[in-house]
């Protein structure tokens, strides 16, 4: 499965970023082959609607699932419309992207059943 993992750097050893819309980058990893590429998040500097933009971006990357720490309502709805699974990795423990892949393979990630929080817009 093609996973887009929110990351604060550009390699498998980079720290996992628990934010979705404002993550520095997405690491696209094929969980079967281990082949990975990294992609700067174009929504990082968005004035608003970062989650919407990031969700469309991971859709264009061909991701089948996203792993992040939290999803806002508009990111959740956009990913959902794109048919992309929304996985949650623990936000509080420091993980590398590679460790998040290992957690996924071990079946230890949960699916986000709903948006994690209210949107940031206007706040």
């Amino acid at each position: 499965m093609k996973l887009a993992i929110s990351s604060s750097g550009t390699t498998l050893d980079s720290p996992f970023d628990a934010r979705f819309g404002r993550a520095a980058a997405f690491c696209l990893v094929d969980s079967e082959t281990g082949i990975w590429t990294t992609h700067a998040n174009p929504a990082l500097a968005a004035a608003g609607g970062a989650g919407v933009q990031a969700a469309q971006f991971v859709a264009t990357l061909g991701a089948q699932a996203v792993v992040s720490g939290a999803y806002g309502p508009k990111a959740y709805d956009t990913l959902s419309a794109a048919g992309i699974a929304r996985m949650l990795a623990p936000a509080n423990d420091a993980h590398s992207v590679a460790e998040v892949v290992a957690l996924f393979k071990a079946g230890q990630l949960t699916q986000a059943g709903a948006a994690s929080h209210n949107g940031h817009h206007g706040a």
Binding site: G48, Q56, A59, K74, A82, H121, G122
Partner: protein
């Protein structure tokens, strides 16, 4: 002549100054008053207009005809606010992100986008007992954007008024962000109401800078004069900002305002002072 009364810091006396200026101006001129503090308009409490006209306002937001949409994504890419998402064969619109700019409608090659009014507030207008044509905007609770309402408020004139007024007074919202800038746009003069405190000075500098950027002449009214320190006076002297009026700190004034009475009604001695304030502003615009 369009005069904006602004302050930055809230509670310095914008509405106190704006309403008394309007009452004094109305003795000799036709006056239009616009309460531009659409988050919490309160000038009507002092001017008592009889509201007779009401109109809902908002922004035009897109709706996409799924029959005509080819999901090309041009609308989503042109949107600077990420208010549209096109993923696969689905189009999503997030109205709370939309600023109503209309770019999506313009770029759609299939004409699949039409626009509908998303109401975010209302305009009310009427005439006061002194004959001041009064208009205010009120933003709906929970709405994030005041500017679209302000734009409509600035353009709106009551149906029974045909001639442009001699003097338009705009009571600005507090702060130093977009709504204040929008209130100042198209004005001729900015009257900065401040108080002689560090907070008053801090915000005075910000709003004076906005007026400067917009190329508008400005003058200062120091309210609650006598409290705090003289740093506002020093700042005005350094920056060639004329101090046009000082209103001393007086309990009598504060009590009258709290009861909904205007300053010039409460202390009629202020009438000539406000008349003089108006003359000073006119003189500065004539030179």
């Amino acid at each position: 002549m369009r005069i904006v009364v602004a302050s930055g810091k809230g509670g310095t006396g914008k509405t106190t100054v704006a309403t008394s200026l309007a009452l004094v101006a109305a003795q000799q001129h036709t006056v239009c008053f616009r309460d531009c503090d659409v988050e919490a308009p309160n000038a009507a409490l002092f001017l008592h207009p009889a509201f007779d006209t009401h109109r809902e306002v908002g922004i035009l937001i897109p709706q996409i005809d799924a029959q005509q949409c080819t999901y090309c994504g041009k609308c989503a890419r042109v949107c600077q606010f990420n208010a549209i998402a096109i993923v696969g064969k689905k189009a999503l619109i997030f109205p709370e992100l939309c600023h109503g700019c209309g770019s999506c409608t313009l770029v759609c090659p299939e004409q699949a986008i039409s626009e509908r009014l998303a109401v975010s507030g209302a305009l009310d207008s009427g005439v006061t007992p002194e004959g001041i044509v009064f208009a205010q905007g009120v933003m709906d609770v929970g709405q994030p954007m005041a500017v679209p309402i302000l734009r409509e408020l600035k353009e709106w004139s009551a149906t029974d008024v045909t001639a442009a007024p001699d003097i338009e007074i705009r009571d600005a919202p507090p702060g130093a962000s977009c709504p204040v800038v929008e209130t100042m746009r198209g004005a001729d003069f900015v009257l900065l109401v401040t108080e002689p405190t560090p907070f008053g000075l801090h915000d005075l500098k910000q709003v004076a800078a906005i007026a400067g950027q917009l190329g508008l002449p400005a003058g200062v009214v120091i309210n609650r004069d006598g409290i705090g320190d003289d740093s506002v006076g020093a700042y005005c002297a350094e920056n060639a900002l004329p101090i046009l009026l000082r209103i001393p700190m007086q309990r009598e004034i504060a009590e009258a305002i709290a009861r909904g009475h205007s300053l010039v009604e409460t202390v009629p001695e202020y009438r000539p002072l406000f008349s003089n304030l108006l003359d000073q502003i006119s003189a500065r615009l004539d030179t």
